[in-house]
């Protein structure tokens, strides 16, 4: 054990190991490297400014301006990531911590932040036509989207458990409100309340877990936790284990891993569909990235304790997500269950607890963001006015009425099933490789078999769209053909998602390259002047 500790110490950068960060005295205002915070600042500023301007000029606001503003802000934040990406690569500036050890400035957080921005772009584009159709127009949804992204960005770069919690709460509270956004649909209100109550409960678990970890290690900073745990052998680690368990409950709830998934189908179904798209993409991204940093970096030395638990969550999610989805007839619920099964795949990457595991999780999150945003984009449109037409029957004959839309949905569904030449395959290959490198063949096999079961679910939707709409001779069958209007925003969003799904599938290096550089670093408190 002592040898282990020494090895870990040697592995740490020399500047890090000897100076375990002392909590800074509260009176000193920490130095803030504002420029490194640009993406978060842009998102936050965009939300506040947008909300203020919109409330001042409400009547005069031309249509789609709020959506365009949001897209612009998110794109600006996305663009601002690129120079920072280069800066992190520069050894002089390197991965560092910001705001006195609260946030980590590394490629991992930048990559995840970029994904959150992409999710905001998709959600805003989808929301534009949706809000007009449902007669709910207003700037609130957009402001909440941006604020949720701020919370997510804080969460993915949090280098301190308390900051993780703050980010999580900002994200979650925005999402609770977003879920209940549809004022005239009872199911939306109900979903919002359900999400709120259960979400608050899980946040409490998380917070209690943080408290226990603090009790066990004497700090909440991840670097501190990591160094403490690798330097010291705890006589009695019940406190730490209980803390880890609580943290897993909290994160497991947010990422919708079975058996903590009960809220997912109801909330996904009840929420306004563009919000569901956002939840599935952004909330999952933020929660997984934060979970990965906390466990793979912070509790690296405890991986023997938490890996079996993550493995259990993973297998349960794979099985529940695929098997329970098969009996559903509501497309939104189907996709909700499929998101549970995707959570299982993502947990594989965390369970691997390796560099490849980390990069494969990021690739998977990128893939899932575009696939799920596209899928719910189509669902948004087919839901039609009232956002209630989500049965399988409502998709009958979609291929006949809207060939492009049906083809796009088919692409997203096949991608989710892991068909080659789509980004979904690259994602699955990555996590499978990651667990295989650990030698866990059987879990890789379980995952792939569950993917086959999930494929059945995706095929059911494709069957409804393509095959049920016509008889053997191609004549349309009796019954209503779905006629949906496709506003420009949704058109752009779905088009982008198709291009990304296929493009990244054919040229996977575009996403897997950056992802393999984006390893979360245990960052020390930034030295003055950087």
């Amino acid at each position: 054990m002592l040898a282990d500790v020494t090895r870990v110490l040697q592995a740490l950068p020399p500047s890090v190991a000897p100076t375990a960060p002392e909590p800074e005295p509260a009176s000193i205002v920490p130095e803030v490297a504002w420029s490194s915070l640009t993406p978060v600042l842009i998102l936050f500023g965009g939300a506040v400014v947008g909300l203020v301007i919109a409330s001042l000029l409400r009547r005069a606001l031309p249509r789609s301006v709020a959506a365009l503003w949001t897209v612009g802000v998110a794109v600006a934040a996305l663009v601002s990531v690129f120079p920072l990406w280069g800066r992190v690569g520069n050894p002089a500036e390197g991965p560092a911590s910001l705001v006195s050890g609260a946030l980590a400035f590394d490629r991992f957080s930048l990559f995840a932040t970029a994904l959150l921005c992409v999710a905001v772009v998709f959600a805003a584009l989808l929301a534009d036509g949706y809000l007009r159709r449902e007669d709910l127009e207003g700037p609130e949804l957009y402001a909440l989207l941006l604020l949720a992204a701020v919370g997510g960005a804080v969460m993915v770069s949090a280098n301190d458990l308390i900051v993780t919690f703050i980010g999580l709460e900002v994200l979650s509270i925005s999402t609770y409100v977003l879920t209940a956004m549809h004022r005239r649909r009872v199911s939306s209100q109900e979903a919002g309340l359900k999400y709120f109550v259960l979400g608050a409960f899980s946040s409490a678990f998380l917070l209690y877990g943080i408290a226990l970890v603090y009790g066990a290690t004497g700090g909440t900073n991840l670097l501190h936790v990591q160094t403490f745990l690798s330097e010291n052998l705890l006589d009695d680690d019940y406190l730490l284990l209980a803390g880890l368990a609580m943290l897993l409950v909290g994160f497991g709830f947010k990422v919708a891993a079975a058996p903590l998934h009960m809220w997912t189908p109801d909330v996904y179904q009840g929420a306004p569909t563009p919000v569901t798209a956002f939840m599935a993409s952004a909330v999952k991204t933020a929660a997984f990235a934060a979970m990965l940093r906390v466990f793979v970096v912070g509790f690296a030395s405890q991986s023997e304790q938490w890996r079996p638990v993550v493995l259990t969550l993973c297998v349960l999610s794979l099985v529940v997500g695929s098997v329970a989805a098969v009996v559903q007839t509501n497309v939104k619920r189907m996709l909700a269950y499929s998101s549970i099964s995707h959570a299982g795949f993502l947990l594989l990457g965390i369970e691997a607890a390796s560099e490849r595991g980390t990069s494969s999780v990021l690739v998977y999150l990128a893939a899932y963001t575009v696939m799920v945003a596209g899928s719910f984009g189509v669902v948004t449109l087919v839901g039609r006015t009232g956002d209630g037409r989500h049965g399988l029957d409502d998709y009958r004959g979609l291929a006949r009425a809207h060939p492009g839309l049906a083809l796009a949905f088919a692409v997203f569904l096949l991608a989710q099933a892991g068909t080659p030449f789509t980004v979904g395959f690259i994602a699955k290959l990555g996590v499978i490789t990651a667990v295989a490198e650990r030698g866990d063949w059987w879990i890789a096999a379980v995952a792939m078999l569950s993917a086959v079961v999930s494929a059945f679910l995706y095929l059911r939707i494709i069957v409804a769209m393509y095959f049920d709409g016509a008889d053997d001779h191609g004549a349309p069958v009796e019954g209503e053909v779905p006629v949906v209007s496709v506003p420009w925003g949704a058109r752009v969003a779905i088009g982008l998602a198709v291009v990304a799904t296929l493009g990244l599938g054919v040229a996977p290096g575009l996403v897997s390259g950056p992802a393999s550089d984006a390893v979360p670093e245990p960052v020390a408190v930034a030295e003055p002047g950087t």
Binding site: F421, L429, I432, T433, A445, V452, A455, G509, S512, S516
Partner: protein
Amino acid sequence: MIAVVRAGAEAGTAFNPILAMIVVPLVGAAVVALVPRVRAEAARQVATIAAALSGGLSIYLLTEFHRGEAGFQFVQRAAWAEDLGIGWHVGVDGISLFLIVLTGILFPLAILGVRPEHDPKPYYAWMLVLMAGSMGVFVALDLVMFFFFFEIVLVPMYFLIGLWGHGDRVYAATKFFLYTMFGSALMLVGIVATAVLHQRATGGPLTFDLVEIATGQEIGTGAARWIFASFALAFAVKVPLFPLHTWLPDAHTEAPTAGSVILAGVMLKLGTYGFVRFGLYLFPEAAHFFAPVLLTLGVVGILYGAFCATVQKDLKRLVAYSSVAHLGFIVLGTFSLTNQGITGGVLQMVNHGITTPALFLLVGMIYERRHTRQIDELVGIQKVAPIFAGVFTLVMLSSIGLPGLNGFPGEFLALIGAFKGARWWAVVAASGVIFAALYLLWAYQRSFHGTPDEANRSFRELRLGEALVLAPLCVLIVFLGLYPKPMIDRIEPSVQELVRHIGQHDPTVDIEDVPAPGPLAGAEEGGH
């Protein structure tokens, strides 16, 4: 081995058609998708041109192929997704050459020969996508790339069966998709395991390169057996081997004619080709270990397929079951692990890919004329349509394996190989040849002989267009039956190399025994 690859690369420096063979149909599909809906005829023309172009390139490949070389030719390598270890690595050897040419011939014929009943535009687009995928699968020399193509062909075929099929098409399409995906799901784990174990042994970067892994042979025996089993499951579903064959009769019966043509001609070969290219090459010891199981399943398939075919009432289903039997011979030859057996297996892959599609085309023509495929409802066609019956007889005799037609040399070589490598299996399998004669001749007798009743009296004779589609296949049936030497000359060096490779890694195979040309010459004599 590396030297061989280099030589092949030099041979391909002039012009390497492989990428174009895959891309041309895809471009064609995109163009078809852009054709306005009202101009369906234009979609057909574009599809024909694209398929013929790609097919032409495959024939160029054949003419430029260096006979007598064992290694891969037209090799092309490029980085693709380096951090994942996937590379673009393609090449052709004697084993894949004729399957590529077969793909290049069958697709244009299927597109020309069969018009869809409705929605021509998406139909042709899917056909072209299917063509691109099928081409890719036979040239891929990277495990993940192979998996890419192996799996992607499901999607167009799924839509072809589901949208343009008959009867219980949705059930058949879904069953087809899920069965095959189930098989390949575990193969993906196997592929990843192969690469990871290879990496562990060499300490180098992760790679999925087939040649590199196979020549390295650094995977332990136990692991290799497990991985081979995962590959075998995927291929066994695709072949299909008893008892994983149940998707096949459904898919074949409900598929549109062109779908059956491609399914029988090209897609079933993915399984047997996979066994030869990946199973035997990567895991020689495991292949030897599992050979008795696979030989048994092959023989069971031969007999079971024949029995089922005998009792079918539906002509198309009968042909489908006959495929189960024929593919059994290929598996038998392959897992005899002898030079003759594998050569025969490869020959039979190609020849089955000529004969059975022709049979499906003919059955499709019967269905077009009579709107039924039930043998009871057909009678006396020979009297009304003698040319049609003549062509049917020729193709049927080839399927039975009559010497002088193309069905014979492959089956014969496979049996010889099996007799040398796995005697008692060969003895049982040989009886399958008789059953093939039984079910096909009996079906022919019931539907073509006799006096035509009211419904069959108006059975239309073969039209010129139909004849032109069947003509190339019939010419090949006769030519390859009488003179299989050009094919054997190109296939054999690669097979010998493979058998030597197996022998190196398995002491029980006698290397001295391997390059015995005697029985091959005998096969030619039998052919004349």
